[in-house]
């Protein structure tokens, strides 16, 4: 190594996050929300009307993380009643677990009975994924790249993105799934050998997010193929992705 490179290397130091399971994010980060049990019906109605994606329902107040785009506007509208914490572990394998109810302050978790047996037996030690962006805005895609970069380095767990669907154990979909990508998504999926998994990364992928209802979408793929993991976010944070996948494949 030339002397200059060594100097840069020294300065660069160790960059990888040592413990991906317990890393702490900035308190500003918008992760799992907590709704106060004291939130009133009027306050609930107010934020339900304001929420741009219809993520908030009443009686009692709840937030569906599959729809929430983490704008934090509801928190600003009813301060003290809704608080977005910096808890990035918000992955679930059943949509029900993405719903946060007033008074809940428990981590979001996977339902073990909903995890197909072959997932853990086949993929626990190595999981290769093919990513398909189907109307993704490139922020989710960049965060998925970051999950494998020098800081997050999910490769340490044998998880990585591969170029060919033939080499993959599943697909990670980003974006609300545009009509114009629907066919390419199906072809990519068909090319992945079984057993295989489907992961939805980002709120757009889970529910359409801000694009739900747009005539430019074709989400029929999701009616045909069961989803193994939902990863909310706008975009999904690398730590949400990595922890969610580790929980799915049963790696501690």
């Amino acid at each position: 190594m030339p002397i200059k490179e060594i100097q840069i290397f020294m300065k660069h130091g160790r960059q990888s996050v040592p413990d991906l399971r317990n890393a702490e994010l900035s308190s500003m980060f918008r992760g799992r929300p907590v709704i106060s049990p004291d939130i009133t019906a009027e306050e609930t109605a107010k934020v339900a009307a304001l929420c741009p994606t219809g993520a908030i329902s009443g009686g009692p107040c709840s937030i569906d993380l599959g729809r929430c785009v983490f704008c934090r506007e509801c928190q600003f509208a009813v301060p003290g009643r809704i608080t977005f914490t910096n808890d990035y572990k918000i992955a679930a394998n059943v949509p029900e677990n993405l719903i946060i109810r007033a008074g809940d302050d428990n981590p979001v978790s996977l339902d073990p009975s909903g995890i197909r047996k072959e997932i853990r037996s086949f993929f626990k030690h190595a999981l290769k994924l093919r990513q398909v962006s189907a109307g993704g805005d490139n922020s989710c895609e960049m965060e998925l790249n970051a999950a494998g970069n020098v800081n997050f380095d999910m490769g340490r767990y044998g998880i990585e993105f591969v170029a060919s669907p033939r080499h993959a154990d599943g697909i990670v979909i980003t974006g609300p799934i545009s009509v114009n990508m629907a066919e390419a998504l199906q072809i990519t999926w068909d090319a992945v050998p079984a057993p295989k998994i489907v992961i939805l990364a980002g709120t757009d992928a889970i529910s359409g997010g801000l694009f739900a209802g747009s005539s430019a979408l074709d989400r029929s793929f999701l009616q045909k193929h069961p989803v193994d993991l939902y990863l909310p976010g706008n975009p999904v944070h690398p730590l949400t992705f990595i922890n969610g996948v580790l929980d799915l494949i049963g790696k501690r």
Binding site: E5, I8, C71, N138, C140
Partner: protein, 506 residues
């Protein structure tokens, strides 16, 4: 009194009444464009059609760099079943992309347009008979030639698009880029959404890697329509945010360019530096891409003295470390061997295709909205854009390096101007907008000029929303850059532009 052929907007974002925009006969309209574009200091910001129940209104927005103004004029055409007009592209090649869009959306014909191909296959396109899988690719006959198709799904984790190469052996003779896979109906959603908050969020997702650029541009359009003032402090904060986005993306691109020349050390060092910048943004507003930061009239996330100190500290560290690694990168002969003379776009080509932003400046064109049509805090800086004339991968990589250094100095200076100011206005939603008005906002995002325009109806509701991402022009630059190159240089050329798919597809 002489009848004016255009209305001149001094300063932007700005709004005018729709009926204040002169309506010209098509012959006069095209002659006026010819006359204006004869001057090298004029270029077309946007040209599009607004449909009304009974007519189509063609609106042309020309930027004049000398007077720092925007010139608006229009043409109206009755809505009849078949409209055929002489193409403006014949005389002004940069119009090719605008006319393709107009043709695709409304079926308006330009018989002498040389390349009237689909642009993005929007769901509400005029001709539903055209579909993604029947794109009319250019082809060449020849025993020695072969075609290579790549995408829409690419090897890496990136957005989809299709590239069709015609090659002679390893050498690329022609590249055609088919886009549209990312089309989400964004412009229609801006009209359909009832809530201005939802539109602010949507603006951040037009191209998520330019969340701040598009959000600032959108806020400008909405504030102009509502007559909302932008306070000095808000202008400073937005300018800082725009430059932070530029720094983050340029460092990320420096890493990605290193990846594509298989220089892993350069890649990882730059990746780690980008992380510092985006984590600083996360500390500011809770999102690494700055989503949530920019809202009409104010912000929920004031730049506090503590945050300013954090930004200063981090940028000073990045200045030192980025300078060190890039100084080294640009001194290695093995790197230079891959950068130099690869993927060249000449100044003439750049100006013919209407290239904007960083791609234009790397080919010797001085085109930068921060300099030519400054708004926010740029108006109080004597900003001079970096211009590099070589037009190759080296120039585009060096552009990243130079602009990161320039932007760091800018942010540090802007933070000084911010010191001691602490009146932070909050966001304002659903304000009444001027009825029957036209509003325009132009922002220099990290890729180049972003232009948003909105037209309101008689109740002040948005009737038409038009977005122009810099990639709309610059994709053609990539197609030209790879001509005569080895096909194996394509990834490097592509990365050196790093264009947006969703920004094009909307």
């Amino acid at each position: 009194m002489k009848h004016e052929k255009h209305i001149e907007l001094k300063g932007q974002p700005a709004r005018v009444k729709m009926d204040a925009i002169p309506v010209l006969h098509y012959t006069v309209f095209s002659l006026h464009i010819t006359e204006l574009l004869r001057e090298p200091f004029n270029h077309c910001l946007n040209y599009f059609v607004v449909p009304f129940p009974d007519k189509y209104k063609f609106i042309c927005c020309i930027a004049n760099d000398e007077t720092k103004s925007i010139l608006l004029f229009s043409h109206e055409h009755e809505k009849v079943s078949h409209i055929s007009l002489p193409s403006l592209t014949r005389i002004h090649f940069p119009f090719h992309i605008f006319e393709r869009e107009i043709h695709e959306n409304f079926g308006i014909d330009f018989p002498d347009h040389p390349w009237l191909k689909p642009l993005r296959y929007p769901y509400d396109r005029h001709d539903k008979g055209k579909s993604m899988d029947s794109y009319p690719f250019y082809s060449m006959e020849g025993e020695e030639l072969h075609e290579v198709g790549v995408g829409p799904v690419h090897a890496g984790v990136i957005e989809p698009g299709h590239f069709r190469f015609i090659c002679n052996g390893e050498k690329v003779l022609h590249l055609e880029i088919q886009l549209g896979y990312q089309h989400r109906g964004v412009e229609t959603l801006f009209v359909e959404n009832e809530s201005s908050l939802k539109n602010a969020l949507l603006a951040e997702c037009i191209a998520g890697d330019t969340a701040i650029g598009h959000a600032v541009c959108h806020a400008g359009v909405m504030e102009a329509l509502a007559g909302l003032p932008v306070s000095e402090i808000l202008a400073l904060e937005r300018t800082i945010a725009l430059e932070m986005e530029r720094i983050a993306m340029h460092i990320g691109d420096t890493a990605a360019i290193c990846t594509d020349i298989a220089y892993q050390f350069g890649q990882v060092v730059n990746e780690a530096l980008r992380t510092i910048v985006i984590n600083t943004m996360q500390g500011w507003c809770g999102n690494r891409f700055g989503k949530g930061l920019v809202r009409s009239g104010g912000t929920w996330y004031p730049l506090t003295p503590a945050l300013s100190a954090e930004i200063r500290k981090n940028l000073q560290e990045i200045r030192q470390r980025y300078g060190q690694i890039t100084g080294y990168i640009f001194s290695m002969s093995s790197v230079l061997g891959r950068f130099e003379a690869t993927g060249k776009v000449t100044a003439k080509q750049a100006s013919l295709i209407g290239a904007v932003g960083m791609a234009a400046r790397s080919s010797g064109l001085k085109r930068d909205i921060r300099w030519s049509h400054p708004s926010l805090a740029y108006s109080r800086l004597s900003f001079e854009p970096v211009v590099i004339s070589r037009g190759d991968v080296w120039a585009r990589a060096m552009m990243r390096k130079s602009e990161v250094e320039q932007s760091i100095e800018l942010v540090l200076h802007l933070l000084d101007l911010l010191d001691g100011k602490d009146v932070h206005p909050l966001p304002v939603y659903n304000t009444a907008a001027e009825p029957d008005a036209f509003s325009i906002s132009v922002t220099e995002g990290w890729r180049g000029e972003i232009c948003h325009t909105a037209v309101t109806d008689e109740n002040g509701k948005i009737r038409h929303y038009k977005i122009k991402d810099p990639s709309l022009h610059n994709w053609m630059a990539l197609a030209l850059a790879v001509r005569g190159q080895e096909i194996s240089d394509f990834p490097l050329c592509n990365k050196s532009f790093n264009l947006s798919y969703c920004g094009n597809d909307l």
